[in-house]
């Protein structure tokens, strides 16, 4: 009998969850992230996961508020002098890097210079800037060659922003990866516990001085309330969902959209929408190869798209998408307009066939790249293939993994020599919402993103829009851009949807900042 009790006790001890763990669980936020963090330098790569890592450990000079107006963050404020040609920016008092050294204007200058050689918006600003110099420890100046309306917007952009690093680190050439992780942000990277492919750990920055204003999008006070943030990389969706349901994790960054309804039924789980702008899906034709070098063929493509079909398959839950979004710059954003999209609200297969014929298409093979290891892209590509076939297009589906697709899409050769015709991707956030920063919209021919959209006239209009800083004067330019874009089609949007996050119901204080940020979050 005694033996049986011993065995039973042993068994109970085995299945009872660790008691010790409960202690630190109250102060630790366990997050399942969408990708494996490998590159630590947010200037060197545009990878989304590294950008999010950047927001934990670095801070920015400006941050957007929820109306997409840049607000001072590290900056105390700025003056615009000399008829808009000189910006004088003053830093907030008491800012410190994680190594204890104060944040100086020199650090900001070095960080901006490095960033401006890499980021697309930064490069645009660089082309109109004649110099950036520190005036004293807390003040620096940006001098422009010509008037440019987007200086503060650029400094406060949300994706791939100008994170401020210590001068000695920021002096690393932008072609070389920074490996040190010293920032002045609300959390500190714990290198000893970093297990690439599994876990990234951050701890609270006890010396961080948040702004007094309430947090609003990327602006306002970033109060680090959790002692520890643990990023877990769980590539299997079912496992991540099970871990959330079992309470092993607190925060699931990208729950599969088909499961939102079933998660909502779980009392221990809450769905939060932090992505106020949404994600836009896009079909990217290769503008170098026939038939898609002809705008008529791209228009045919647009005539084949029924956004609702894509959204049903990619998203599923009708509350997370709109039936039709005719905006290149995001429905619901400041630059939302549907001008020019009228002919495409309903698919028109007959018109598509006609346009393809006019563009000289005659049954040649059309190479579509289908990424098998990205479920959402895979699904959208399947819809695209079906709609092409319905229109009598001879589709050559080439299945490959995402990594092959990424390198293949940079190949400028003709489709039968290693190139391609079509692929699918998505983008989102404030960058997508403006003509200058929307990278897939960029139509500067060989300097554009893979697919090489080429329409210098459109690019000229975008530059005109950027020079103008008065919102009222910008509007007509925007509408001209939009009408032109629906004619020359740098890409074809296939719908806009939101990707909410899922958290355990004891997680509170989530800031809707467009992307997952971890300040102000607490567990109650």
């Amino acid at each position: 009998m005694k033996r049986i009790i011993q065995i039973a006790a042993l068994f109970l001890a085995f299945i009872a969850p660790g008691v010790v763990q409960a202690q630190d669980r109250a102060t630790t936020l366990r997050v399942v992230v969408h990708a494996n963090l490998q590159i630590l330098d947010p200037v060197w790569t545009t990878a989304f996961i590294t950008n999010r890592h950047g927001y934990l450990i670095y801070d920015t000079l400006y941050g957007m508020n929820s109306r997409f107006e840049p607000q001072p963050q590290m900056a105390e404020g700025h003056e615009v002098l000399e008829d808009g040609l000189l910006y004088r920016i003053r830093l907030r008092e008491g800012l410190r890097f994680h190594d204890g050294s104060p944040v100086r204007a020199q650090d900001a200058v070095a960080s901006l210079r490095r960033w401006m050689t890499r980021d697309a918006m930064g490069q645009r600003m660089g082309s109109v800037t004649s110099g950036i110099e520190a005036v004293d420890e807390r003040t620096f100046e940006i001098r422009l060659r010509e008037r440019w309306g987007l200086v503060i917007e650029t400094l406060g952009k949300a994706s791939n922003p100008a994170f401020i690093m210590p001068e000695r680190i920021a002096n690393t050439p932008s072609s070389t990866q920074v490996t040190e992780t010293i920032g002045s942000g609300p959390f500190i990277f714990v290198r000893d516990e970093w297990r690439p492919g599994n876990r990234v750990v951050y701890r609270r920055n006890p010396d961080y001085v948040p702004r007094a204003e309430p947090a609003d999008y990327m602006s306002g006070g970033k109060r680090p309330l959790m002692e520890r943030i643990e990023w877990l990389y769980i590539p299997d969706q079912n496992t991540a969902l099970a871990a959330l349901n079992a309470g092993e994790i607190d925060y699931y960054e990208a729950p599969p959209l088909d499961f939102i309804t079933s998660l909502e039924r779980n009392r221990n789980v809450r769905i939060v929408n932090i992505d106020t702008l949404g994600t836009q899906g896009l079909i990217r034709p290769n503008h170098l190869s026939p038939p898609f070098n002809d705008p008529r063929a791209r228009q045919a493509l647009a005539h084949l798209v029924r956004q609702e079909d894509y959204m049903r398959v990619v998203v599923g839950n009708p509350r997370l998408y709109q039936r039709f979004c005719g905006a290149f710059f995001q429905c619901g954003s400041a630059n939302d307009t549907a001008v020019g999209s009228e002919p495409y609200q309903q698919p028109n297969i007959e018109r598509a066939r006609e346009l393809l014929r006019e563009a000289g298409y005659n049954g040649e093979r059309i190479v579509v790249m289908q990424p098998t290891d990205r479920p959402q892209y895979n699904a959208a590509t399947a819809v695209l293939i079906q709609s092409l076939r319905r229109a009598g297009v001879n589709v050559d589906v080439q299945a490959m993994d995402w990594s092959t697709l990424l390198s293949r899409r940079a190949n400028r050769s003709p489709p039968d020599q290693g190139g391609y015709h079509l692929f699918i991707t998505t983008h989102g956030g404030p960058d997508t919402a403006a003509p200058v920063s929307n990278t897939w919209f960029n139509s500067r021919c060989e300097r554009a993103n893979p697919g090489w959209a080429c329409d210098m006239e459109l690019d000229g209009m975008v530059a005109e829009w950027a020079r103008e800083s008065d919102p009222a004067a910008r509007r007509p330019i925007l509408e001209r851009i939009h009408r032109r874009a629906w004619e020359t089609l740098p890409y074809i949007p296939f719908g806009q949807y939101t990707q909410p996050i899922a958290v355990r119901s004891n997680v509170h204080g989530i800031v809707a900042a467009g992307l997952p940020v971890y300040w102000n979050i607490e567990k109650r």
Partner: protein, 293 residues
């Protein structure tokens, strides 16, 4: 003389048929296995006529429907008919299973016998086999898959290559044991040539374990295909196989279990039937066991 032989064989015909029936009664399990397999093969071959829908046709309005009168096995995330996809998927999975089993067994048998019999060849061949086997099969398959465009035949080659060394090692181990047995030594002493030796002694001895292994390979090939699909490097999504239907459906297992239930059941039944059949064949083919019964 020739007429008597002919007469004898003619006279034997009906008795053989009778013995087949008797055998079927004596081995009910293999018979069930064979019948099940025939049924599955028939459903796969007849898919174009049996299927109620086009397996590729997407009706996004009807996505993730549970089984009903129109969609007997429900629909998947694209609104495609699961019944038709499952039947069509069987064609691809069957081809993969059979092709891999046949190819790897034949290649493995030849290499294994040579390696087990000739010491010099053994040294070289087994090192190469060791090298090949040392690269984990799935990783080798993934590498092969990324080498060229995904297609069913690339999957077959990718699964076959890592299977070969296993067959070789098994054959060789048996040959080694058999070779040392006295009757082989005696046969060699009398001066029997290598081909006769092989036919008379080694082949019958390797056959039983080889059949077990071949059934196992056919079954495992179908499974490995599903693993490759699970990892995103299997049969291209254009071609429905049980493996990639399950792999696609597994994302929805918690809200649409029928997406994996039906292809899994079919896959399971096929593996089951091949294995039962294989075991039965082994019992029937093994001369010593047959003698005893």
């Amino acid at each position: 003389m020739s007429t008597t032989i002919l007469g004898a064989s003619l006279a034997e015909q009906p008795r053989r048929r009778a013995s087949l029936l008797r055998r079927m009664r004596r081995y009910p399990l293999p018979t069930i296995g064979a019948l099940l397999l025939i049924l599955l093969v028939a459903s796969a071959l007849g898919a174009p006529w049996i299927a109620t829908h086009d397996p590729f046709e997407m009706n996004v309005v009807d996505r993730l429907q549970p089984p009903n009168a129109d969609y007997w096995f429900g629909t998947d995330a694209y609104g495609r008919d699961m019944f038709s996809r499952t039947l069509h998927g069987g064609r691809v999975s069957l081809v993969i299973g059979i092709a891999v089993a046949v190819a790897s067994t034949i290649i493995g048998l030849v290499i294994g016998v040579i390696a087990g019999y000739f010491r010099l060849a053994d040294a070289i061949l087994m090192r190469i086999m060791d090298g090949l086997m040392a690269i984990p099969g799935i990783l080798l398959a993934i590498a092969l898959m990324s080498l060229t465009r995904a297609s069913v035949w690339v999957v077959v080659v990718a699964i076959t290559i890592p299977e070969i060394p296993r067959v070789v090692r098994l054959v060789r181990a048996v040959v080694l044991t058999v070779r040392e047995q006295i009757y082989i030594e005696a046969a060699t002493a009398i001066g029997t040539g290598f081909p006769r030796l092989m036919l008379k002694h080694i082949l019958p001895n390797t056959l039983a374990p080889l059949i077990v292994q071949a059934t196992y390979i056919a079954a495992s090939a179908v499974l490995v295909e599903s693993y490759l699909s699970f990892l995103g490097v299997g049969t291209p999504p254009e071609v429905p196989s049980w493996g990639n239907i399950i792999a696609e459906g597994r994302l929805y297992v918690q809200i649409a279990f029928w997406n994996i239930l039906f292809p899994s059941v079919f896959l399971g039944l096929m593996v089951l039937s091949i294995n039962i059949l294989g075991d039965g064949l082994r019992d029937m083919l093994d001369p010593r066991l047959a003698r005893r019964l």
